[in-house]
């Protein structure tokens, strides 16, 4: 038997058309299940509307605004999508000093990668993972963004090697999940460290206006390596 849940909702709300009323009443006369549902729904509706408004955590505003940078002109974000699209056409490789012993690889060639395309980190870039015994906080992220400005040496992808460690794959997958598989710029550096005590990946992106224009912003995101959620953010204009 089909049950007229939509019409029963209208009946509850007092918005049932006159023309439907008789049919719904006739159904209720013969359907014990719907009669019980209607009684339950009346109680459930009252109960749901009785729930009090809860105060959000006192630090929610600080967490959000702090993670969003909280100051300056956020023009970087407007260009992220454009930059990502442009980067698919124009391969840009970033030389990464102090990356450790693992070679860094950039560009769209996923040869050797274990990543599914849908799980690729933003812009499908492959980088090695820096291991750092550092506990970052918001200020440290901002400092990192500043320091990465001077490191952002742009070259072509011709000399890039294409080896990616399994650890890098896992880190890339995690960072990609944190951004819901959306493009947020050109990933240039990936650091495994801590953020405010929590195991985290620190991902450095270059973002710009696209259309062949050079990046104009360094964006640094912290994502939990445990559940791949975003923890914080900082940016610096180049």
């Amino acid at each position: 038997m089909n049950h007229p849940y939509e019409l029963l909702a209208d009946l509850m709300d007092g918005t049932l058309d006159e023309g439907d009323l008789a049919g719904v009443q006739a159904h209720l006369d013969t359907c014990a299940s719907c009669r019980q549902d209607l009684a339950d729904a009346k109680a459930g509706g009252r109960a749901a509307r009785s729930l009090p408004v809860e105060d959000p955590p006192a630090d929610l505003h600080r967490r959000v605004v702090g993670a969003s940078g909280g100051h300056g002109t956020p023009s970087w974000y407007r260009w992220a999508g454009v930059a990502a699209a442009a980067a698919a056409v124009v391969a840009i490789a970033i030389a990464l000093p102090n990356v450790g012993t693992d070679p860094a690889t950039l560009g769209g060639d996923s040869t050797g990668s274990q990543l599914e395309s849908s799980e690729m980190a933003p812009n499908a870039a492959q980088v090695a993972v820096d291991e750092e015994d550092t506990n970052y906080d918001g200020q440290a992220l901002e400092d990192l963004a500043e320091s990465e400005k001077s490191r952002a040496v742009v070259s072509t992808a011709a000399g890039a090697e294409d080896a990616a460690s399994g650890r890098a794959d896992a880190a890339l997958r995690c960072v990609s999940r944190a951004f819901d598989n959306q493009q947020v710029g050109q990933l240039t550096r990936l650091i495994r460290a801590r953020f405010e005590g929590e195991e985290a990946y620190i991902a450095v992106y270059l973002e710009g206006p696209g259309a062949g224009q050079p990046p104009d912003t360094v964006a640094v995101w912290a994502a939990s390596s445990k559940d791949c959620t975003i923890l914080s953010f900082a940016s610096a204009r180049i």
Binding site: P57, H61, V64
Partner: protein, 198 residues
């Protein structure tokens, strides 16, 4: 600062480079987003994380907001997606669960019907019962009866037909009533009072 500004004006100012405008939006909608997440997820800490994810996602996506829908509708959509993401991560199950077959969604009462004069205690019971309502009904129920959104706006948030919204609201309410056990001949004091008032 911006108290009387419309959301759409604040969004425009943010798109023009004002980070202060985004802070006003967070301040204005923080409680609403948190309560949506809290009632869907049923956990304060997860709700705080999902709220933070909502605003960070909004920050990233605001450049694509063109005002085709009201900002609140758009923000609710972002928040619901953040909640689905949280539920998916926690339970490792598909993003959108199909509605169960008739009868499958009938939860057992969470506990004997409450008989509390204290409304606060009753609300805890409701919150516990709400967690037993199947996800696809709970989301719509929260949007309708907690957030007080009209059906057509819920349809826009979830991108489903209005008729489906009504159906899910009804089934969500029924599931909540069953979970509370207050409609099976054991009315609580709170519900009896409501009945008498009705």
């Amino acid at each position: 600062m911006g108290v009387s500004e419309t959301d759409e004006r604040l969004v425009r100012r943010f798109q023009e480079g004002s980070s202060e405008a985004f802070e006003v939006l967070v301040q204005r909608h923080g409680t609403r987003v948190y309560n949506l997440c809290f009632r869907i997820l049923g956990d304060a800490e997860e709700a705080a994380d999902a709220s933070q994810d909502t605003f960070l996602a909004a920050l990233r996506k605001l450049s694509t907001f063109r005002g085709d829908a009201a900002f609140t509708t758009w923000l609710h959509r972002v928040a619901v997606n953040a909640c689905y993401d949280s539920l998916r991560k926690k339970r490792r199950r598909p993003l959108l669960q199909l509605a169960p077959e008739e009868g499958d969604e009938r939860p057992e009462p969470s506990r004997p019907a409450p008989d509390h004069a204290d409304g606060g205690v009753f609300s805890v019971d409701v919150a516990e019962a709400l967690r037993q309502v199947p996800e696809e009904f709970r989301v719509v129920l929260v949007l309708a009866d907690v957030q007080d959104l009209p059906y057509d706006e819920i349809a826009a948030v979830l991108d489903i037909p209005v008729g489906t919204v009504k159906s899910r609201v009804f089934r969500g309410r029924a599931a909540l009533g069953r979970a509370l056990g207050v409609a099976r001949g054991e009315p609580s004091r709170a519900s009896r009072t409501s009945e008498e008032e009705a």
